[in-house]
Amino acid sequence: MSNHHDHIAHDTHEHEGMDKKGIWKVFFILLALTGLEFLIALGFVHHWGILHKGTFLNIIYIALTLVKAYYIVAYFMHLKFEKSGFILSVCIVFVFIIYFIVLMLIEGGYLHDHFTHQPIFPHK
Protein backbone atom coordinates (compact mmCIF):
# COMPACT_ATOMS: atom_id res chain seq x y z
CA MET A 1 0.00 0.00 0.00
CA SER A 2 2.86 2.35 0.83
CA ASN A 3 4.08 1.74 -2.67
CA HIS A 4 0.84 3.19 -4.01
CA HIS A 5 1.22 6.40 -2.02
CA ASP A 6 4.78 6.73 -3.18
CA HIS A 7 3.55 6.48 -6.71
CA ILE A 8 0.97 9.28 -6.26
CA ALA A 9 3.46 11.56 -4.54
CA HIS A 10 5.95 10.97 -7.29
CA ASP A 11 3.29 11.64 -9.87
CA THR A 12 2.38 15.09 -8.57
CA HIS A 13 6.02 15.96 -8.29
CA GLU A 14 6.69 15.06 -11.91
CA HIS A 15 3.99 17.39 -13.13
CA GLU A 16 5.99 20.40 -12.19
CA GLY A 17 7.50 20.19 -15.64
CA MET A 18 5.53 23.27 -16.69
CA ASP A 19 4.49 26.32 -14.72
CA LYS A 20 2.28 29.21 -15.84
CA LYS A 21 5.21 31.02 -17.37
CA GLY A 22 6.14 27.95 -19.38
CA ILE A 23 2.56 27.56 -20.63
CA TRP A 24 2.43 31.13 -21.93
CA LYS A 25 5.85 30.74 -23.49
CA VAL A 26 4.64 27.73 -25.49
CA PHE A 27 1.52 29.70 -26.45
CA PHE A 28 3.62 32.54 -27.85
CA ILE A 29 5.79 30.07 -29.78
CA LEU A 30 2.65 28.56 -31.32
CA LEU A 31 1.28 32.02 -32.07
CA ALA A 32 4.57 33.09 -33.67
CA LEU A 33 4.69 29.97 -35.86
CA THR A 34 1.08 30.52 -36.98
CA GLY A 35 1.92 34.18 -37.58
CA LEU A 36 4.87 33.13 -39.72
CA GLU A 37 2.58 30.89 -41.80
CA PHE A 38 0.25 33.85 -42.32
CA LEU A 39 3.15 36.12 -43.20
CA ILE A 40 4.28 33.66 -45.86
CA ALA A 41 0.78 33.01 -47.23
CA LEU A 42 -0.62 36.55 -47.14
CA GLY A 43 2.57 38.57 -47.40
CA PHE A 44 5.12 36.71 -49.48
CA VAL A 45 2.69 34.85 -51.74
CA HIS A 46 -0.32 37.17 -52.09
CA HIS A 47 0.83 40.66 -51.47
CA TRP A 48 4.41 40.86 -52.65
CA GLY A 49 4.36 37.82 -54.92
CA ILE A 50 7.92 36.86 -53.98
CA LEU A 51 7.08 33.18 -53.46
CA HIS A 52 4.73 30.98 -55.45
CA LYS A 53 2.67 28.01 -54.37
CA GLY A 54 4.56 24.83 -55.04
CA THR A 55 6.61 22.01 -53.59
CA PHE A 56 9.10 24.29 -51.84
CA LEU A 57 6.39 26.27 -50.07
CA ASN A 58 4.50 23.09 -49.18
CA ILE A 59 7.60 21.71 -47.50
CA ILE A 60 7.95 24.90 -45.45
CA TYR A 61 4.29 24.78 -44.40
CA ILE A 62 4.50 21.10 -43.44
CA ALA A 63 7.73 21.68 -41.50
CA LEU A 64 6.12 24.56 -39.56
CA THR A 65 3.06 22.38 -38.91
CA LEU A 66 5.21 19.57 -37.55
CA VAL A 67 7.03 22.00 -35.25
CA LYS A 68 3.66 23.25 -33.96
CA ALA A 69 2.50 19.65 -33.49
CA TYR A 70 5.67 18.95 -31.53
CA TYR A 71 5.02 21.83 -29.14
CA ILE A 72 1.38 20.84 -28.60
CA VAL A 73 2.17 17.17 -27.98
CA ALA A 74 5.36 17.67 -25.98
CA TYR A 75 4.28 20.53 -23.72
CA PHE A 76 0.48 20.88 -23.74
CA MET A 77 -0.10 17.14 -23.76
CA HIS A 78 2.86 16.76 -21.45
CA LEU A 79 4.41 13.88 -23.38
CA LYS A 80 7.94 15.25 -23.05
CA PHE A 81 7.78 14.76 -19.28
CA GLU A 82 6.57 11.15 -19.41
CA LYS A 83 8.83 8.12 -19.22
CA SER A 84 10.83 7.41 -22.35
CA GLY A 85 9.25 3.97 -22.67
CA PHE A 86 5.81 5.55 -22.91
CA ILE A 87 6.95 8.21 -25.38
CA LEU A 88 8.37 5.45 -27.56
CA SER A 89 5.23 3.31 -27.40
CA VAL A 90 3.04 6.24 -28.41
CA CYS A 91 5.29 7.56 -31.18
CA ILE A 92 6.67 4.42 -32.83
CA VAL A 93 3.37 3.45 -34.46
CA PHE A 94 3.50 6.56 -36.64
CA VAL A 95 6.04 4.68 -38.74
CA PHE A 96 2.94 3.19 -40.38
CA ILE A 97 1.63 6.66 -41.17
CA ILE A 98 4.91 7.57 -42.86
CA TYR A 99 4.69 4.33 -44.82
CA PHE A 100 1.09 5.13 -45.78
CA ILE A 101 2.07 8.62 -46.98
CA VAL A 102 4.81 7.19 -49.21
CA LEU A 103 2.45 4.52 -50.49
CA MET A 104 -0.33 6.99 -51.34
CA LEU A 105 2.07 9.40 -53.02
CA ILE A 106 3.32 6.60 -55.29
CA GLU A 107 -0.26 5.61 -56.02
CA GLY A 108 -1.22 9.25 -56.59
CA GLY A 109 1.69 9.73 -58.98
CA TYR A 110 0.59 6.70 -60.98
CA LEU A 111 -2.99 7.94 -61.17
CA HIS A 112 -1.80 11.42 -62.06
CA ASP A 113 -0.08 10.15 -65.19
CA HIS A 114 -3.20 8.30 -66.25
CA PHE A 115 -5.62 11.13 -65.50
CA THR A 116 -3.42 13.46 -67.53
CA HIS A 117 -3.51 11.16 -70.55
CA GLN A 118 -7.19 10.37 -70.30
CA PRO A 119 -8.79 13.43 -68.73
CA ILE A 120 -12.20 13.01 -67.14
CA PHE A 121 -13.06 16.68 -67.38
CA PRO A 122 -15.69 18.20 -67.13
CA HIS A 123 -18.49 15.71 -67.11
CA LYS A 124 -21.91 15.70 -65.60
Binding site: E82, G85, I101, M104, L111, H112, P122
Partner: protein, 245 residues
Protein backbone atom coordinates in the same frame (compact mmCIF):
# COMPACT_ATOMS: atom_id res chain seq x y z
CA UNK B 1 -2.17 -22.10 12.13
CA UNK B 2 -0.10 -21.67 9.08
CA UNK B 3 0.31 -18.00 8.21
CA UNK B 4 2.70 -18.54 5.36
CA UNK B 5 1.26 -17.11 2.16
CA UNK B 6 1.63 -19.27 -0.89
CA UNK B 7 3.77 -17.97 -3.70
CA UNK B 8 0.72 -17.29 -5.83
CA UNK B 9 -1.15 -15.17 -3.26
CA UNK B 10 1.72 -12.89 -2.37
CA UNK B 11 1.15 -9.21 -3.01
CA UNK B 12 3.22 -8.44 -6.03
CA UNK B 13 5.56 -5.55 -5.45
CA UNK B 14 8.56 -6.08 -7.68
CA UNK B 15 9.04 -3.78 -10.65
CA UNK B 16 8.64 -6.68 -13.09
CA UNK B 17 5.79 -8.47 -11.37
CA UNK B 18 3.01 -5.92 -11.55
CA UNK B 19 3.86 -4.16 -8.33
CA UNK B 20 4.96 -0.98 -10.00
CA UNK B 21 3.57 1.00 -12.90
CA UNK B 22 6.41 0.98 -15.42
CA UNK B 23 5.19 4.19 -17.07
CA UNK B 24 4.26 5.87 -13.82
CA UNK B 25 0.91 6.79 -15.37
CA UNK B 26 -2.61 6.12 -14.24
CA UNK B 27 -4.48 3.47 -16.25
CA UNK B 28 -7.17 5.81 -17.58
CA UNK B 29 -4.60 8.27 -18.81
CA UNK B 30 -2.73 5.58 -20.72
CA UNK B 31 -5.98 4.43 -22.28
CA UNK B 32 -6.80 8.01 -23.27
CA UNK B 33 -3.41 8.22 -24.97
CA UNK B 34 -3.98 4.97 -26.84
CA UNK B 35 -7.42 6.12 -27.93
CA UNK B 36 -5.90 9.36 -29.22
CA UNK B 37 -3.22 7.44 -31.12
CA UNK B 38 -5.92 5.38 -32.84
CA UNK B 39 -7.92 8.55 -33.52
CA UNK B 40 -4.80 10.13 -34.99
CA UNK B 41 -4.67 7.18 -37.40
CA UNK B 42 -8.22 7.92 -38.55
CA UNK B 43 -7.48 11.58 -39.16
CA UNK B 44 -4.17 10.73 -40.82
CA UNK B 45 -5.93 8.36 -43.19
CA UNK B 46 -8.44 11.08 -44.09
CA UNK B 47 -5.79 13.72 -44.67
CA UNK B 48 -3.48 11.37 -46.57
CA UNK B 49 -6.35 10.42 -48.85
CA UNK B 50 -7.03 14.11 -49.41
CA UNK B 51 -3.37 14.67 -50.26
CA UNK B 52 -3.31 11.67 -52.58
CA UNK B 53 -6.39 12.91 -54.43
CA UNK B 54 -4.94 16.35 -54.80
CA UNK B 55 -1.69 14.85 -56.05
CA UNK B 56 -3.43 12.49 -58.48
CA UNK B 57 -5.85 14.96 -60.07
CA UNK B 58 -4.48 16.95 -62.99
CA UNK B 59 -5.89 20.11 -61.43
CA UNK B 60 -7.29 21.16 -58.07
CA UNK B 61 -9.35 24.00 -56.63
CA UNK B 62 -7.55 27.07 -55.31
CA UNK B 63 -8.15 27.25 -51.54
CA UNK B 64 -7.62 31.02 -51.56
CA UNK B 65 -10.53 31.38 -53.97
CA UNK B 66 -12.88 29.17 -51.99
CA UNK B 67 -12.19 30.53 -48.52
CA UNK B 68 -12.00 34.27 -49.00
CA UNK B 69 -14.83 35.78 -47.00
CA UNK B 70 -15.10 37.13 -43.50
CA UNK B 71 -18.78 36.67 -42.60
CA UNK B 72 -20.41 40.00 -41.89
CA UNK B 73 -17.36 42.03 -42.90
CA UNK B 74 -16.09 41.13 -46.33
CA UNK B 75 -17.71 38.94 -48.95
CA UNK B 76 -14.53 38.26 -50.89
CA UNK B 77 -10.86 39.03 -51.32
CA UNK B 78 -9.79 38.08 -47.78
CA UNK B 79 -8.32 34.60 -47.82
CA UNK B 80 -7.12 33.01 -44.56
CA UNK B 81 -8.41 35.78 -42.27
CA UNK B 82 -11.52 34.00 -40.99
CA UNK B 83 -9.76 30.66 -40.59
CA UNK B 84 -6.96 32.53 -38.84
CA UNK B 85 -9.45 33.75 -36.26
CA UNK B 86 -10.73 30.18 -35.85
CA UNK B 87 -7.18 28.87 -35.39
CA UNK B 88 -6.45 31.52 -32.81
CA UNK B 89 -9.62 30.68 -30.88
CA UNK B 90 -8.73 26.99 -30.76
CA UNK B 91 -5.10 27.54 -29.72
CA UNK B 92 -6.32 29.96 -27.07
CA UNK B 93 -8.81 27.45 -25.69
CA UNK B 94 -6.02 24.88 -25.62
CA UNK B 95 -3.98 27.27 -23.47
CA UNK B 96 -6.85 27.82 -21.03
CA UNK B 97 -7.21 24.03 -20.84
CA UNK B 98 -3.54 23.65 -19.80
CA UNK B 99 -4.08 26.40 -17.26
CA UNK B 100 -7.08 24.49 -15.89
CA UNK B 101 -4.97 21.33 -15.59
CA UNK B 102 -2.24 23.37 -13.91
CA UNK B 103 -4.78 24.82 -11.46
CA UNK B 104 -5.96 21.26 -10.79
CA UNK B 105 -2.46 20.25 -9.78
CA UNK B 106 -2.48 23.03 -7.22
CA UNK B 107 -6.00 21.99 -6.07
CA UNK B 108 -7.44 25.43 -6.81
CA UNK B 109 -11.07 24.69 -7.52
CA UNK B 110 -12.06 28.27 -8.41
CA UNK B 111 -9.26 28.57 -10.94
CA UNK B 112 -10.18 25.24 -12.54
CA UNK B 113 -13.77 26.46 -12.90
CA UNK B 114 -12.66 29.78 -14.38
CA UNK B 115 -10.34 28.23 -16.97
CA UNK B 116 -12.81 25.46 -17.84
CA UNK B 117 -15.42 28.13 -18.57
CA UNK B 118 -13.00 29.93 -20.90
CA UNK B 119 -12.15 26.63 -22.61
CA UNK B 120 -15.82 25.81 -23.17
CA UNK B 121 -16.44 29.31 -24.51
CA UNK B 122 -13.55 28.90 -26.95
CA UNK B 123 -14.90 25.55 -28.12
CA UNK B 124 -18.39 26.93 -28.68
CA UNK B 125 -16.99 29.94 -30.59
CA UNK B 126 -14.96 27.60 -32.79
CA UNK B 127 -17.92 25.37 -33.64
CA UNK B 128 -19.99 28.51 -34.27
CA UNK B 129 -17.36 29.81 -36.72
CA UNK B 130 -17.31 26.46 -38.45
CA UNK B 131 -21.09 26.51 -38.76
CA UNK B 132 -20.86 29.94 -40.42
CA UNK B 133 -18.19 28.67 -42.79
CA UNK B 134 -20.22 25.59 -43.69
CA UNK B 135 -23.32 27.72 -44.32
CA UNK B 136 -21.32 30.04 -46.54
CA UNK B 137 -19.96 27.15 -48.65
CA UNK B 138 -23.36 25.53 -48.79
CA UNK B 139 -24.83 28.73 -50.22
CA UNK B 140 -22.15 28.67 -52.90
CA UNK B 141 -23.24 25.17 -53.86
CA UNK B 142 -20.69 22.99 -52.11
CA UNK B 143 -22.02 20.10 -50.07
CA UNK B 144 -21.57 16.35 -49.62
CA UNK B 145 -21.77 14.88 -53.11
CA UNK B 146 -22.20 18.18 -54.93
CA UNK B 147 -20.36 21.23 -56.12
CA UNK B 148 -21.57 24.53 -57.63
CA UNK B 149 -21.91 22.93 -61.07
CA UNK B 150 -23.96 19.92 -59.99
CA UNK B 151 -27.15 19.65 -62.02
CA UNK B 152 -25.92 21.80 -64.89
CA UNK B 153 -25.87 20.19 -68.32
CA UNK B 154 -24.46 22.91 -70.51
CA UNK B 155 -20.69 22.75 -70.84
CA UNK B 156 -20.33 26.54 -70.73
CA UNK B 157 -22.56 26.79 -67.67
CA UNK B 158 -20.40 24.21 -65.87
CA UNK B 159 -17.23 26.11 -66.69
CA UNK B 160 -18.85 29.37 -65.61
CA UNK B 161 -20.05 27.88 -62.32
CA UNK B 162 -16.65 26.45 -61.44
CA UNK B 163 -14.23 29.02 -62.82
CA UNK B 164 -14.36 31.28 -59.72
CA UNK B 165 -12.77 28.47 -57.68
CA UNK B 166 -9.91 27.46 -59.96
CA UNK B 167 -6.64 29.14 -60.84
CA UNK B 168 -5.61 26.44 -63.27
CA UNK B 169 -7.72 24.15 -65.46
CA UNK B 170 -11.26 23.45 -64.35
CA UNK B 171 -12.31 19.98 -63.33
CA UNK B 172 -15.74 18.91 -62.16
CA UNK B 173 -14.26 15.83 -60.49
CA UNK B 174 -11.64 17.80 -58.59
CA UNK B 175 -14.27 20.24 -57.27
CA UNK B 176 -16.48 17.33 -56.23
CA UNK B 177 -13.63 15.50 -54.49
CA UNK B 178 -12.64 18.68 -52.70
CA UNK B 179 -16.21 19.30 -51.58
CA UNK B 180 -16.70 15.76 -50.25
CA UNK B 181 -13.39 15.65 -48.44
CA UNK B 182 -13.70 19.14 -46.98
CA UNK B 183 -17.09 18.46 -45.43
CA UNK B 184 -16.12 14.96 -44.28
CA UNK B 185 -12.85 15.96 -42.63
CA UNK B 186 -13.90 19.27 -41.09
CA UNK B 187 -17.18 17.61 -40.15
CA UNK B 188 -15.38 14.79 -38.37
CA UNK B 189 -13.16 17.34 -36.65
CA UNK B 190 -16.16 19.50 -35.70
CA UNK B 191 -17.80 16.38 -34.28
CA UNK B 192 -14.72 15.85 -32.13
CA UNK B 193 -14.85 19.47 -30.95
CA UNK B 194 -18.52 19.08 -30.05
CA UNK B 195 -17.80 15.92 -28.05
CA UNK B 196 -14.93 17.81 -26.41
CA UNK B 197 -17.25 20.64 -25.37
CA UNK B 198 -19.64 18.08 -23.90
CA UNK B 199 -16.81 16.40 -21.95
CA UNK B 200 -15.59 19.80 -20.76
CA UNK B 201 -19.07 20.68 -19.51
CA UNK B 202 -19.28 17.35 -17.65
CA UNK B 203 -15.87 18.02 -16.07
CA UNK B 204 -16.95 21.54 -15.14
CA UNK B 205 -20.09 20.19 -13.43
CA UNK B 206 -18.03 17.61 -11.53
CA UNK B 207 -15.61 20.32 -10.44
CA UNK B 208 -18.46 22.50 -9.21
CA UNK B 209 -19.88 19.44 -7.50
CA UNK B 210 -16.59 19.01 -5.56
CA UNK B 211 -16.16 15.52 -7.04
CA UNK B 212 -12.45 16.03 -7.70
CA UNK B 213 -11.92 17.98 -4.49
CA UNK B 214 -13.24 15.00 -2.53
CA UNK B 215 -11.31 12.53 -4.67
CA UNK B 216 -8.15 14.48 -3.93
CA UNK B 217 -7.00 14.67 -7.53
CA UNK B 218 -7.98 16.52 -10.67
CA UNK B 219 -6.67 13.72 -12.89
CA UNK B 220 -9.93 13.63 -14.84
CA UNK B 221 -9.39 17.23 -15.95
CA UNK B 222 -6.02 16.12 -17.27
CA UNK B 223 -7.49 13.23 -19.27
CA UNK B 224 -10.16 15.40 -20.88
CA UNK B 225 -7.43 17.99 -21.41
CA UNK B 226 -5.45 15.46 -23.45
CA UNK B 227 -8.48 14.97 -25.69
CA UNK B 228 -8.96 18.71 -26.07
CA UNK B 229 -5.34 19.27 -27.08
CA UNK B 230 -5.64 16.47 -29.58
CA UNK B 231 -8.57 18.28 -31.20
CA UNK B 232 -6.37 21.37 -31.43
CA UNK B 233 -3.55 19.27 -32.88
CA UNK B 234 -5.79 17.88 -35.61
CA UNK B 235 -6.92 21.40 -36.49
CA UNK B 236 -3.28 22.46 -36.98
CA UNK B 237 -3.00 19.79 -39.69
CA UNK B 238 -6.42 20.47 -41.22
CA UNK B 239 -5.54 24.15 -41.40
CA UNK B 240 -2.28 23.42 -43.23
CA UNK B 241 -3.63 20.93 -45.73
CA UNK B 242 -6.93 22.61 -46.57
CA UNK B 243 -6.18 26.31 -46.25
CA UNK B 244 -2.45 26.84 -46.76
CA UNK B 245 -1.34 24.29 -49.32
Amino acid sequence: MNTTVSQLDKVKDGPWSGGKSPWNLEYGKIMMWFFLVSDAFTFSAFLIYYGAQKYAQPTWVDADKIFQSIPGIAESGQPLVFVGIMTFILIMSSVTMVLAVDAGHRNKKDEVVKYMLWTILGGILFVGCQAIEWTHLHHQGFWFGRNPATGLTDQNAIVEALSPYFSKEISYTAALQFSNLFFTITGFHGFHVSIGILLNIIILCQTLNNTFQNRGSYLMVEKVGLYWHFVDLVWVFVFTFFYLI
